[in-house]
Amino acid sequence: MAGLEELKQAIISGKREAAKELTQKALEGGMKPREIVVDGIAAAMGVVGQKFHDNEFFVPELLIAQRAMKEALSLMSEEDVDHIGTVAIGTVKGDLHDIGKNLVAAMLEGAGFKVLDLGVDVSPDQFVKAAQEDSANVIAMSALLTTTMGSMRDTVAALETAGIRDKTRVLIGGAPVTQSYADEIKADGYAPDAATAVEKAKALSPA
């Protein structure tokens, strides 16, 4: 486990090259990919999320940790990782803001989720398609423009029309989004930051 401590630190401090090298070393040393992901990468992102929550880390630290994490993950193949769920995430129709959404996607990936990043300006139909065709069990939506939040309501309705609302969990977030809005549109969860988003996504996924 000692080797993973160094990997954790490399990811937390955003050292891309080191993260990749240490992951490589661990794999060559015979460590199981699953172990590296859970005890190394996911653990590191958990620490990052907590520090952000505590005001010790800010957006830049999250972004550089995310880049280091991606380097580490790039050495894993799909089958190596036992995903704990599949999340289709995107910024809603009419909105282009994606920094927050990208952070949540990174944290989810680090936590062991399979993440389908649908990008920005994502229509309700695109979310429904991801749930149907790509087996996403969680739809995560982000909006920064209050003028575009209504698309979240539309997506919940679209899931109902497609008959898959009961199989798909809806998680929402973004600066103007609130718990009461989530209650209003009958979403399954609201997260005010990336760390909470991971917690909620885990709670909403099959054990």
């Binding site: 005001n55 800010f58 830049p60 994606d98 920094i99 209050t146 003028t147 575009t148 103007p176």
Partner: protein
């Protein structure tokens, strides 16, 4: 053929002319520009001169209709009617001379010729007689040379007959382009004022100008009252989209603040509001739409489209603006998306359309617009930096008004300067930049933006250390202790404030890097950087470089141009040529959508660190 010499006083210039040449023609030959709006037809009375020696023909009927017998006895004639029959001497009164007013526009080192859209022409019209039975309106329009059309607004015509008669045909016409805006009694031609306004998301500033000379007589500013409906453009757009009621509230608030500024400026300059004939407006796209009552429905979501782009001229009364009842409102054109009239104003003021080399203009305000030019190519973007540099979202932030700390240094203690030499009430943009720079330099804040705890900074001077205070909300650094008066509060910078400043400056720095890349330049190839900001905001370049708000390579190339958008509004108010230039700038400038650029995400992350940038690799 005989030639006669006509000598003009007081200049002493003279011309040699053939017999029967009019004095007006002789003046032109001598290089003396006389007013002649009616084209020398003897219809306006503006080219009056005094003949002080013999040598001209007899008084014509047109002149007899304009001058009293006493004046005629003194030698007063109309230069366009008097013909030279011998050597003569002519005295030209200043009122008959066409004077080119050169205006020096402060802040940007520009000089323009005053040719405002609205101008007043004093007329001495011949009274009606049996031989001159022209209708009242025709009498006036012909005196103006036939290029001014009949007024479209009935009120002008309704007032006209009375004004003509009560003033005995000595009147002043108010003209805007081809329109007759009004007719006033006597010679009120000097009483012509205009207001240039910069409607910012957070701060609104107005400049009252004397139209013929361009002199600024009053500068007033107010917080934008739309802020009660949301501090940023997006929340106001949402309200506007929510229905008629929301839109009405926003438009009413815009009109109210403009009228407040009109009243204050008029009072400060001791000028009646009715003597203000035009308001020229700059602002971001959302602001100009709301002022005009045009719903900005397309601006709230991708692809962020305005309802109109080109310049607009409307009757001020139609928008509820209380200046002269026939007064006009001119809105400078937009570029696209949120990059609006204010950016055009900055580019016009900084003359980016004619600049040599690589020139960047940055507006450190809520929307953080950046314009760049290279070899005639023009680009502009909005970084949506947020209002931190205008004082909003900072716990003790305020705009640059009396009581604002605008400069700050830290050595063994904190030293600051307060605007208006008042007791410190808060921190304005330039003070914020200084404070962040000095706190990082002193080691109180890390480059990553974390405010250190008291126990981590034990080696700092005593007076600095004790300013780090921790309470249930977090850590803060006290910049100014509470005063002695009851109710005085401390002015502090909290850990969260530092984060807000990081976000704002990161967005601006990233925007600058990407815009330079759009023209294929690196920070080192930037020839000039124009730093513009909200009224009163003069950010110190050294501090801006220290925290990585602007590139380190900008050292020595920064020009603080103050409220350049406001300067642009003044230029549009005072010169129709500048208006045409603004239209061209708006048309030529390509709108860059930063968020869609590859690498914006990474640039933004890298730009949040509080140190000179770009970082040495």
């Amino acid at each position: 053929m005989a030639a006669y010499t006509v000598t003009f006083r007081p200049s002493g210039k003279s011309a040699s002319v053939a017999p029967e040449t009019t004095v007006l023609e002789a003046a032109a030959a001598a290089g003396i520009p006389l007013h002649a709006p009616c084209g020398g037809q003897g219809r306006c009375g503006k080219c009056d001169v005094q003949i002080t020696a013999a040598g001209v023909d007899e008084v014509s009927p047109a002149e007899a209709a304009v001058f009293s017998s006493g004046e005629l006895a003194e030698g007063w004639r109309l230069a366009c009617q008097a013909r030279v029959l011998g050597d003569t001497e002519v005295t030209v009164p200043p009122s008959s001379l066409v004077a080119e007013h050169r205006i020096v526009v402060d802040g940007v080192d520009r000089e323009i010729v005053a040719q405002p859209n609205v101008h007043k022409v004093a007329l001495r019209l011949p009274a009606p007689t049996m031989d001159d039975q022209r209708a009242d309106l025709n009498r006036v329009l012909e005196a103006l040379g036939g290029e001014v059309l009949a007024p479209s607004h009935l009120a002008v015509l309704q007032n006209l007959p009375e004004v003509l008669r009560s003033s005995k045909y000595k009147v002043t016409a108010v003209v805007a382009g081809e329109s007759l805006l009004g007719l006033e009694a006597g010679d009120s031609s000097d009483s012509a004022y205009g207001l240039a306004i910069d409607i910012g998301t957070t701060t609104v500033v107005a400049y009252l100008c004397h139209l013929p000379t361009g002199r600024v007589l009053a500068v007033v500013s107010e917080l934008n009252p739309q802020a009660q409906y949301g501090g940023d453009v997006i929340s106001r757009l949402q309200l506007a989209a929510s229905g008629e009621e929301g839109m009405a509230r926003l438009t009413r608030a815009a009109g109210e603040v403009v009228n407040k500024l009109v009243a204050r400026a008029a009072r400060d300059a001791r000028v009646p509001a009715e003597a203000i004939y035009e308001v020229a407006v700059v602002g971001n796209t959302c602001m100009t739409h709301l002022l005009l009552g045009v719903p900005p429905l397309g601006l709230g979501a991708v692809p962020f489209l305005p309802a109109f782009r080109e310049a607009r001229t409307v009757r001020a009364a139609d928008v509820g603006i209380a200046i002269n009842p026939e007064g006009l409102l001119f809105v400078v054109p937009n570029i696209g998306g949120f990059v609006g009239a204010d950016t055009v104003g900055v580019m016009l003021a900084g003359e980016l359309d004619r600049a040599a080399g690589v020139v960047l203009a940055v507006d450190i305000g809520t929307n953080g617009e950046i314009a760049v030019t290279r070899d005639g190519e023009l680009y502009a973007c909005s970084t949506a930096a947020g209002p931190a540099f205008e004082g909003a979202r900072i716990s003790c932030g305020m705009r640059a008004a009396a009581g604002a700390i605008d400069e700050l240094t830290i050595d063994h203690d904190v030293h600051y300067h307060v605007l208006g030499d008042a007791a410190p009430l808060g921190l304005c943009g330039s003070g914020l930049v200084d404070a962040v720079a000095e706190l990082v330099k002193a080691g109180v804040v890390t480059e990553a933006g974390r405010m250190r705890r008291a126990e981590e900074v034990s080696d700092l001077p005593e007076k600095v250390k004790r300013r780090l205070v921790e309470n249930e909300e977090g850590i803060e650094f006290v910049l100014a202790w509470p005063g002695e008066k009851e109710g005085d509060r401390a002015v502090s910078l909290t850990a969260r404030d530092i984060r807000q400043a990081q976000l704002a400056k990161g967005a601006i720095y990233a925007g600058m890097t990407l815009m330079l890349a759009e023209v294929g330049a690196g920070p080192g190839e930037m020839d000039r950087l124009l730093l513009a900001g909200a009224f009163g905001n003069y950010i110190r370049p050294e501090s801006a470089i220290a925290i990585g708000l602007i590139p380190a390579a900008a050292d020595g190339r920064v020009e603080s141009v103050g409220n350049a958008a406001g300067v642009g509004a003044r230029l549009a108010l005072l010169s129709v040529a500048e208006r045409r230039r603004a239209e061209e700038i708006a048309r030529r400038t390509r709108h860059v959508k930063l968020a869609e650029l590859e690498g914006f995400y990474d640039q933004f992350a890298d730009a949040m660190i509080l140190r000179p940038l770009p970082a040495e690799s």
